[in-house]
Symmetry: C2
Subunit: 445 residues, 2 copies
């Protein structure tokens, strides 16, 4: 079972910062994140992961997703950890592939092979407005750009063959010109000559992660992703998603094991079940309705402020009109309908994981849930989203992980050194080396 | 006297990687850079600095400027140091201001107020070709863009007032909406709404550094820069440059002390003068003529491969035709003419510092040189460029710095915590706070 720790400032629950055991003043303090990373590494998590966005709404009265930038933060975490993978979110819509390829190559060198890239296409107009654009790129166009972006970055990572650097002091030969390549990419979106100015990194490519679960997202994941973060509320839905995505890999010449599917879980852990449920209620009662309404209105692309909190959701627009996170929109709409929730109830259901599954129970019950999904074809592991930090991580590390280890479901020691080792993923073969050796080998992309 | 350590892979001399005491295999090993940073911090350097470019020529046979990316590298150095400033080079021509503002704010948080930005406009066609462009932006256009880029980034750094975050758990007030601002920048180059999604950092802005010495560069520095790295071969030239740049500040409402002028010096240190000179000759003899010719041809925008190495430089194009580093072009052309150098001699003269001053002598003689320039109106300090690393840094730290300290020219302990403290620079007042308090205060930009 693969476990990724999803770190979110004071915790994933939207009221986490109001919880007395959190440290909301520390969201720009690197020592806080270094402690979290070290705790996760002691618990043998495969990796830790940082979400990211490129804009905030200026209404931040009751909370906001602000803080440190992923590359700088992950690099400072690399310096104080040895084994845990470091996955950062970077948008293909508002970046240049040369910069992104180089920063990930650099992070992979600095961490000695522990970098991962959560590839996102960005979901909001707010982000467009910070990058010279009045409107957000349409959903399918974003994925077209993302595909070409990946072509460019993977070529740049291959532009230095592994043995390009010679360093023969006597003859004055620093590198082998025949093993450093221009990529000469010319496409609809990008024109990039290369080579990269950073030599090939320990993992070759960072582990490629994807988190969109729309049709476009699933197809993109089947082609490129090596891990996928996804929101699934029930085992049945998770199984359907798992089977669906895995079945798409063959057409890209890939094996099902080359993509790890990791649904999100926000575990609220108590010594007894009732203690856990009380904890959840306490957290939910700390939510500010105005903040929840704002989040929900943004997610559903509909102003909900004029509807009664204790009444039902109004009629929603169709998913075709959503140019953002389409799958999350659908999940929330379905959830409200299926369980016949009022707006307030829906806000509470989403407060812990923004659409990811929340589960309150004892450590044993949490382990039971994870085991069930893992053994029943619902997942290859989980994206663990502690409701509050650092406490929620510590409880998971101290009580759930040992239980998973007792059951033989989770490692007790790291077997390898790189994130690819932890996930059991092959190191990508260099496409230029293939060409020059004229021998065909399996390549990931 | 302010001292900045300019770190360049195996050292500044172009043959450094062939020197037996360097570690050229370590150019992607973070531990190597961490050792250098810690050595510099023990020696009480104000800061360390990394140059950067966004392309390499694919001819890397005899050496190349490749390695780690500045933000990731500096952030990993921040994690293992406490006081030394961390200055990274970032181009305004091939970046977006939102990303740059955010990464520097993040680095400044992570380092607790030690970030500096060496603002460059990029100098080569090679770089354009990695970013969707066939041709490089003209020199003056690059500076026009740089000015607007600075307007945007400084506004974004101001978009969070210092006391915007409240975190009142009882009332649910996370931040004060009145203290987080959209910037709504609309200009010729950029349209950026803001606010930034990273709160204001310890220094407010990173220390702004500039390294262009052309007319455009000097004027830009006078308006924005707080430190300037410059190549000056003689005291007379340094004095002229110093007086020129400092005299330009008044028109932007700035005081001369608000800009530190730091000429480069590549010190080759021996126990005796003759040992130092021998060292220099040894290094020069390790240079590969083909590499030097390539560098010189690029710098002068002229193919020199068909001219005899031991003959004079041919007639050069005029400086107006140079769309790159204009001042460096002029310096090299003047140097060759003044000292009547053959091509080979010029290559050797440039091998240590690429146009920066090289000086071979004892530690006392080096200290004498620094003292003379510093006390005679040639500089506020120096950009120290060890010819080979780590040895050249260790020699400077062990022998030159104690001598400067004995003379009362350099600190024996850090007095402050931030890079602004070390340089004696004020923390920028937030332009939004000024507006909201209706009180005029001095602002840096």
């Amino acid at each position: 079972m693969n476990l990724n720790l999803f770190i979110m400032n004071a915790g994933h629950h939207e009221a986490a910062w109001r919880h007395p055991d959190t440290e909301p003043h520390s969201i720009t303090d690197i020592r806080y994140f270094q402690r979290l990373a070290q705790t996760a590494e002691q618990a043998k998590f495969d990796s830790l992961f940082l979400a990211d966005g490129l804009a905030i709404n200026k209404n931040i009265k009751h909370g906001a997703f602000v803080g440190l930038e992923p590359f700088t933060l992950l690099s400072a975490l690399a310096a104080v950890t040895e084994r845990i993978g470091l996955i950062g979110t970077v948008s293909t819509t508002y970046n240049e592939p040369f910069h992104v390829a180089r920063k990930f190559a650099s992070l992979d060198h600095i961490s000695n092979g522990r970098a991962g890239w959560n590839i996102v296409t960005s979901g909001s107009e707010f982000e467009a407005n910070n990058f010279n654009k009045d409107t957000h790129l349409a959903h399918s166009k974003r994925y077209t750009r993302a595909r070409e972006f990946l072509q460019v970055t993977t070529s740049l990572w291959d532009s230095w063959e592994d043995d390009a650097i010679i360093i023969d002091r006597a003859s004055g030969a620093f590198a082998d010109n025949g093993k450093v390549h221009e990529i000469n990419h010319v496409g609809d979106e990008f024109k990039v000559r290369g080579p990269l100015n950073t030599p090939r990194s320990p993992q070759g490519y960072p582990v490629l992660v994807q988190a969109g679960s729309s049709e476009d997202g699933k197809e993109f994941a089947a082609q490129y992703a090596e891990a996928i973060f996804t929101a699934q509320q029930t085992l049945a839905e998770a199984q359907k998603f798992y089977a669906d995505v895995k079945s798409r890999l063959a057409k890209y010449g890939r094996h099902p094991e080359q993509l790890k599917i990791l649904p999100g879980i926000c575990p609220i852990i108590g010594r007894t079940e009732s203690e856990a449920i009380e904890k959840e209620q306490e957290l939910n009662e700390l939510t500010v309705p105005e903040y929840g309404l704002n989040q929900l209105s943004t997610m559903l692309k509909m102003d909900l402020f004029n509807y009664p909190l204790d009444g039902p959701l109004p009629e929603l627009p169709g998913v075709d009109e959503i140019n953002g996170n389409k799958s999350r929109y659908q999940l929330v709409a379905d959830l409200a309908k299926r369980d016949n929730l009022t707006i307030r109830q829906l806000i509470h259901r989403l407060a812990g994981g923004r659409g990811h599954r929340t589960f309150a129970g004892t450590a044993i019950q949490v382990a039971d849930q994870l085991e069930e999904w893992f053994t029943q074809g619902g997942s290859d592991g989980f994206n663990v989203m502690p409701p509050y930090l650092p406490g929620g991580l510590e409880e998971f590390a101290q009580h759930v992980i040992p239980e998973l280890q007792r059951r033989g479901l989770f490692r007790t020691e790291y077997a390898g050194r790189t994130l690819r080792d932890h996930f059991g993923l092959p190191r990508p073969v260099n496409s230029f080396s293939i060409r020059s050796s004229s021998t065909f080998k399996e390549v990931i992309v």
